[in-house]
């Protein structure tokens, strides 16, 4: 049943720009702060106060557009989307509904069938709304307008994605690219990057789009994958029953492990029209080129460099260059340790696994590349074994300490003293006569068992190479 159908998914990703001040006034965009302390007549929509567009917002939007292969609009403007809600002081959101600042770009993802372009329909600038905090005790809603007027770009994709994996890859790649441009810190959990996911299903081969469901404000990769797979199945089930899918907005309820229909805000049309208090945004080629020059080395170019400079396999370079934070860890660690492949392995396996498990963003990795480099040196010197190193890494995630400090504190230094190890080997051999006989009878597995026992006895600190060597020597006797 499932195989007859395909998912058709498009994303609208909202990204808070990291400008110091808001889109139309000089108020601070800093996260947190006393409620309503980053406000002024303009963002509070006090009568007579007027908006003035923050030039940095335009610059950042153009950066994002250039980094995603978009065309930059030379004559654009901003529109008012009118609706009443307490978190939107002017009773309209200033956005762009026609001449978007960037158009027709794409983000590459890797699929089993090769590279695929997820097309970007547009990137437009808009003002964020404030926050409503619902106080259950007092049965009222508290309005905090610190966020009202914080600048956003909205990146609208075409419905080119066909699976939860493609959505995850697109979003990770987009996040990585935007982090490179420096226009946003893209912290999903803090809300500076969130995605509205539009999903519908249809029979494979159909060209017409099905009724779409919108899942709003998703900011966790785990939930995104679960919600997409749940929704797709739910829609397929409906169609298979001969019913129609009703277009609506939903949210993912992780407690109930399902999507729940949301009470719609007044979904009457926004009656958009050009904002008469703002002037058109007119950009020339010179301006656009001057911004292009300030773009850093983007992922693709960096991949090429890593291939030649570090001799890493293509898979490794693609993995690491996806995030500028992983790149800086990689480069620092390689500088210190001189071993790019070991660093890369660490990043792709243990570090990434822990990031995913604990849902930590790459930008929040609590240790430096330097410390990873030091960790690798310690392994190569024989001071600790690889398996001990993995334990040290977990500690590094939890404390701010260097690997040397952790090893010292926990006494994890590898024991390579043959005298000490010999004693343990003798002890284990004498306690496990059957295993000795098994080994001599040709059962190699018995050696592994004996080594394991000795390792346990030495709390994992034995130098595995020496341990193995001594066992084999002794068993030969």
């Amino acid at each position: 049943m499932y195989n007859d159908y395909e998912m058709v998914i498009g994303l609208e990703t909202h990204v808070e720009l990291g400008t110091k001040t808001k889109i139309f006034c000089g108020c601070s965009t800093e996260f947190g702060g006393e409620p309503n302390s980053h406000c002024c007549p303009v963002c509070l929509a006090i009568p007579g106060a007027m908006p003035v567009l923050n030039e940095k917002v335009v610059e950042y939007a153009v950066r994002a557009g250039l980094a995603t292969n978009c065309q930059i609009t030379k004559f654009g403007w901003q529109d008012r989307k009118n609706y009443f809600y307490p978190d939107m002081p002017p009773a309209y959101q200033v956005s762009q509904t026609e001449e978007f600042i960037c158009k027709n770009g794409y983000v590459e993802i890797e699929t089993d069938d090769g590279t695929k372009n997820i097309r970007i329909h547009e990137i437009h600038i808009e003002a964020d709304a404030g926050k409503l905090i619902h106080d259950n005790l007092e049965e009222c809603s508290l309005v905090d307008l610190n966020r009202a007027g914080v600048p956003l770009i909205e990146i609208v994709s075409e419905p080119d994605m066909r699976s939860a994996k493609e959505v995850e890859d697109y979003l990770r790649n987009l996040k990585g690219i935007l982090e490179y441009t420096g226009v946003s810190d893209c912290k999903m959990q803090e809300g500076s990057m969130r995605a509205d996911i539009n999903i519908s299903v249809r029979k494979k081969g159909d060209t017409k789009l099905g009724s779409k469901i919108e899942m709003k404000n998703m900011n966790s990769f785990k939930f995104i994958i679960k919600a997409i797979n749940y929704e797709a199945q739910r829609q397929i089930d409906i169609l298979e029953d001969g019913e129609k899918v009703i277009s609506e907005t939903v949210k993912w309820d992780d407690q109930k492990q399902k999507t729940i229909s949301m009470r719609e805000k007044d979904s009457a049309a926004y009656r958009p029209f050009p904002d008469p208090e703002l002037m058109p945004i007119v950009l020339d080629d010179e301006y656009v080129e001057s911004i292009r020059k300030t773009l850093p080395e983007l992922p693709k170019a960096r991949q090429k460099r890593y291939l030649s400079e570090y001799g890493l396999p293509i898979y490794d370079t693609k993995f690491i260059t996806n995030s500028k934070y992983l790149c800086s860890i990689f480069e620092e660690a390689t500088n210190v340790s001189g071993n790019p492949k070991m660093v890369s392995n660490f990043i792709m396996s243990d570090i990434s696994r822990i990031l995913k498990e604990k849902e930590i963003e790459e930008s929040n990795i609590p240790f430096s590349g330097e410390n990873i480099g030091k960790l690798i040196i310690l392994i190569n010197k024989g001071t600790i074994s690889t398996s001990i190193a993995k334990k040290v890494l977990i500690d590094m995630f939890e404390t701010a300490k260097s690997p040397e400090e952790i090893i010292k504190e926990k006494g994890l230094v590898q024991i390579s003293d043959e005298g000490i190890i010999k004693e343990v080997v003798s002890k284990i051999l004498s306690q496990n006569e059957q295993s000795v006989l098994d080994y001599k009878a040709g059962k190699d597995k018995a050696l592994g068992f004996l080594v394991g026992q000795a390792m346990k006895e030495m709390k994992g600190k034995a130098n595995p190479v020496i341990l193995n060597k001594l066992f084999i020597e002794n068993l030969k006797k």
Partner: protein, 327 residues
């Protein structure tokens, strides 16, 4: 200069700025409009002049001295011919709108009224100038004292009162798109009002109804009780014109027609410097639709090219002094 009247839709810090509306009856502006700051730094006293709600009804106010009056639809012209005063509605962008509570920002301008042309010039000189807090403010130096000879003056046939202008060499002009001006103005100003007046919702400041049990009630009843009939009618009309089903036929068409009028006026002004028009429907809408400056003296209005207020002042002086100079 004596005390200058300021229309009550211009913010004076610490004072009530009501826009003639129950919505803002008790609203005390927390900041000064830019033009108020300029008056203060020129040591000019001012006092508030009352108005109809957001200026949407014909104001029946007595003005007999210098005043700063906002102009949406020939407000200044009408006050001038009624009270035998002179008035100037400046070019869009000459005077800062920061602190001026407007219902239709692309049309409404801050202008001046006085007993003589000189009064107007003096007052306009003080309040004009670039203001970075207003996105539409023009960063252009305009010299109001500039004298120009040999002005080419056009006149439309509907000007009945020609006695003060007989001695000028007048060029007869026809504006073929004239009849659309009032309707275009109505559609655009209503659309903008439906949006610009939406912020009066009883949430953050201003009047709030006492009849509510949920959020929708707050909005509905506050706006029902706080606004007058004329204003509500205007906002409903604007909502209609912007509605997705009507937008193309009304709002978009009106903006296209506005461009048509701008284009035609530009063509007309290739041959003339100033155009004399009567204070009548359609004519009173031209200056606001096109952003051009206009000056009202006697029973007529003279319209000029953008930022050429000095030419209007020159001609007006001629008219005022019964100048014998042939133009």
């Amino acid at each position: 200069m004596k005390t200058v009247g300021i229309r009550d839709n211009i913010c004076i810090k610490g004072e009530k700025t009501t826009c003639g509306s129950k919505m803002l009856e008790k609203f005390i502006a927390p900041y000064n409009a830019t033009i108020v700051e300029k008056l203060t730094s020129n040591s000019i006293d001012f006092k508030k002049v009352s108005m109809s709600e957001f200026g949407l009804k014909n104001d029946d106010i007595q003005i007999n001295e210098c005043a700063i009056i906002t102009d949406l639809e020939g407000d200044i012209s009408k006050i001038c011919i009624k009270n035998n005063l002179v008035g100037i509605k400046p070019t869009f962008g000459l005077v800062s709108r920061y602190g001026f509570i407007s219902s239709a920002p692309s049309l409404e301008q801050v202008g001046v009224i006085g007993k003589t042309v000189e009064d107007c010039k003096e007052l306009l000189n003080i309040i004009k100038g670039y203001d970075k807090r207003d996105s539409g403010s023009a960063n252009i130096d305009v010299d109001l004292e500039k004298k120009t000879d040999n002005l080419k003056v056009g006149i439309v046939k509907d000007v009945k009162n020609r006695e003060k202008t007989e001695k000028f060499n007048l060029i007869e002009v026809e504006i073929s798109n004239l009849k659309y001006a009032k309707v275009i103005h109505y559609i655009i100003s209503s659309a903008e009002a439906s949006s610009s007046l939406a912020k009066y919702d009883g949430i953050r400041y201003g009047y709030r109804t006492k009849q509510y049990s949920n959020l929708k009630d707050v909005y509905k009843n506050t706006r029902k009780e706080g606004f007058e009939y004329e204003t509500k009618k205007k906002m409903i009309a604007g909502t209609f014109f912007l509605d997705v089903n009507n937008r193309e036929d009304y709002y978009i068409k009106a903006e296209k027609a506005r461009t048509m009028i701008k284009t035609e006026m530009n063509k007309i002004f290739e041959e003339i410097d100033i155009l004399i028009v009567p204070v009548k429907d359609n004519y009173i809408h031209l200056a606001n639709l096109t952003g051009r400056p206009s000056l009202t003296i006697g029973m007529n209005t003279i319209i000029g090219k953008h930022f050429e207020e000095s030419k209007l002042i020159s001609l007006a002086n001629e008219i005022q002094n019964g100048g014998a100079k042939n133009v």
